[in-house]
């Protein structure tokens, strides 16, 4: 008997096994991160790495894995709805500063598309990869919709989105130490625009106002991308 035979490969049992493994490794990573708060120990970095090691070890492929754990990804839907509360509670700030936030989103959007396009061209990446890179700053549900629209590969985009989140949340902290940003608005926008969900989680740790601004900016960025996608598709094809 081989080691890879120890884990169930198909059906309900495999689904339960991989869901349990994902949740357990997430909590394990969070436990480690609490004791050793380094970038590599972030749950978004450590848990996937451990899972990939486990999957390679057990000869599991992505198709089987995601079939059992898709419900976890689907939970991003209710999470999106949950953002209604922090946004509602910060409505005074938002009513007062929406033009500033909108400016930030437009600047960030332009920069995201330009930098992804420019850097991908510079490094001679293929068209499909380049198109999949474009919507990576936006949160997963938006990004995957946009990627499909403009001719990218949604699955690939999801990977880039998560990478952006991991590194964005990490880089954001470092950037805040360098950039003299005085307003909570700017700090929140930086996280929400650059690192979507993971950035919002990080911004919530910086402060309540930063967290709410970050979630709002993330949603505005997603909406602007979804609205711009048909236009982009026209230009790119």
């Amino acid at each position: 008997m081989m080691i890879s035979d120890l884990a169930p490969h198909t059906g309900l049992l495999a689904g339960i096994f991989w869901s349990a493994a994902t949740i357990a490794l997430y909590y394990a990573a969070r436990w480690v991160h609490k004791r050793r708060p380094r970038w590599w120990s972030s749950p978004l970095a450590l848990a996937p790495i451990l899972l990939i090691v486990l999957a390679v070890f057990l000869h599991e492929n992505y198709h089987e894995y995601i079939r059992g754990t898709h419900w976890l990804v689907a939970m991003l839907g209710p999470v999106t709805v949950a953002f209604a509360l922090p946004i509602f509670e910060q409505r005074a700030v938002i009513r007062k500063h929406w033009p500033v936030l909108l400016t930030g989103v437009l600047v960030g959007d332009a920069m995201a598309m330009l930098s992804a396009w420019g850097l991908a061209t510079l490094l001679h990446l293929s068209d499909a990869v380049r198109l999949s890179l474009l919507p990576r700053s936006v949160s997963t549900p938006f990004a995957m919709a946009v990627s499909g629209d403009i001719g990218g590969i949604p699955d690939l985009t999801a990977v880039f989105v998560v990478l952006t989140g991991v590194f964005g949340a990490m880089l954001g902290e470092a950037l805040l130490a360098f950039l003299p940003l005085r307003s909570a608005l700017a700090r929140g926008a930086l996280f929400g625009m650059g690192a979507h969900g993971a950035g919002v989680a990080q911004a919530r740790r910086v402060g309540d106002e930063e967290g709410a601004i970050a979630s709002l900016v993330m949603i505005m960025a997603g909406l602007s991308n979804v609205l711009a996608a048909p236009l982009l598709a026209l230009v790119l094809r």
């Binding site: 949740i23 198709h63 995601i66 209710p78 509360l85 920069m111 919709a145 700017a186």
Partner: protein
């Protein structure tokens, strides 16, 4: 002996709702499903979660829904948000070609691009804020 009092039942179920994050999480999922349905029927290219969010915001703003009855569920979901991103990363399993030079290139694009986006957004918003403050001071004079 206790007599059956419908009003008491409504009050106590409201109390349960205010304390159970699981029920509240379920309610948020309900709004998401509703949003999903609306998005599909109307054919709008907007994720169902966003439609659900707009719906909850409307209900909160109109006072039909109290923030306290969703507070715990929302805090819970938002705190565990990172868990729901993890399965997507495993897509790398189907793209072994990323383990070499291509992977390094992609990492470089993601890292530098994200740095650019965060830097410009933060600075742009901060400049706008300072400008606003200065304009406001000017108005006061």
């Amino acid at each position: 002996m206790h007599s059956f009092n419908p009003r008491k039942l409504v009050v106590s179920s409201r109390l349960v709702m205010r304390h159970s994050r699981l029920l509240q999480g379920g309610a948020l999922a309900g709004f998401w499903l509703l949003g999903e349905g609306v998005a599909r029927i109307s054919g709008l290219p907007i994720p169902g979660g966003i439609v659900g969010l707009a719906l909850v915001l409307l209900l909160l703003a109109s006072g039909r829904l109290k923030a306290i009855s969703l507070r715990r569920g929302a805090d819970w979901l938002l705190a565990e948000m990172l868990l729901f991103f993890i399965p997507a990363v495993l897509a790398v399993l189907d793209h072994r070609e990323f383990l070499g030079l291509l992977g390094l290139k992609l990492l470089a694009v993601v890292l530098t691009g994200t740095l650019f986006v965060m830097g410009t957004t933060g600075v742009a918003v901060d400049l706008c804020c300072r400008l606003n403050v200065r304009l406001a001071r000017h108005d006061d004079k």
